[in-house]
Amino acid sequence: MARNEATVIAAGTRISGRLEGAEDVQVLGALQGTVHLEGALFIDTEARVDAECAVDSLEVHGILVGDVQASDTIELHPTARVVGDLAAPRVIVHEGARMRGLIDMGDMDAERAPTKGRSAAPARRPTASPARPASRPAPAPARPAPVAKAPEAPAAKAPPAPEPEDEKAKAAPRKKAAASKKAEA
């Protein structure tokens, strides 16, 4: 059977609509719509995909606009440009990759969280935060009254901010400590 001959969308080809299947798909051209694959989706450097994707794994070298749900791995290579929310148990972001959107690695056990979260966080934070200011100020009111001067504190220590969302609870006291330390200095 020709089953292992992967599907290729060549550079000069544009597909719009719904794509479904149980094999790997390599995109060198353009793909628009929705993608449901039991297999890997590969987006080449010159390729552009505007689609909601549900795949086993995803590898991006080119441009991707749309939300992705992967059951295994999402990997953004240095030339990747992504706008959309990514959900997968493993998300790998290489240096140089740019994205705006949310990354969700699902339920994390406490031991695994710090290493996993941090490796991905610095790469996406700078682009992610301006687009979603709402997500940052939200925790502030939740803090107890003593941190009333919080507004100036975050501004002062902006660089070390990239903490994974899931650690916010844990991070809050640490931030407070850092803030007071800074205040003393």
């Binding site: 000069g12 080809t13 719904r18």
Partner: protein
């Protein structure tokens, strides 16, 4: 340059356009419009209007075909729809129902 290949397990519902040859092993519904050739392989199912330079059908095609150069229906192919092309070949064993238009400019 690599051809576009639509693998056997793939179903596309929509439109394919481009400047590359397309090989279909799976299923395509909707429309195919390319400036090169379209190969419909024996396991493939096409429910679409096809515009291309050349079209070769070994599988099942339902829809109208317009080719700039040539349409070939191979043995064991099935096609329902109209064909418009200057050259049309229908092999022994091919099933076809539809109009043929070889209205060449002359």
């Amino acid at each position: 340059m690599a051809n576009t290949v639509i693998g056997s397990s793939i179903v596309i519902d929509g439109e394919i356009a481009g400047e590359e040859p397309i090989i279909v092993q799976g299923t395509v519904k909707g429309r195919i419009a390319v400036s090169e050739s379209v190969f419909v392989e024996s396991a493939a199912t096409i429910e679409a209007d096809v515009e291309a330079d050349t079209v070769e059908v070994a599988g099942v095609l339902t829809g109208n075909v317009t080719a700039g150069a040539r349409v070939e229906l191979k043995a064991d192919s099935k096609m329902v729809g109209d064909i418009k092309s200057p050259r049309i070949l229908i092999a022994d064993g091919a099933l076809f129902k539809g109009n043929i238009d070889m209205d060449v400019e002359r």
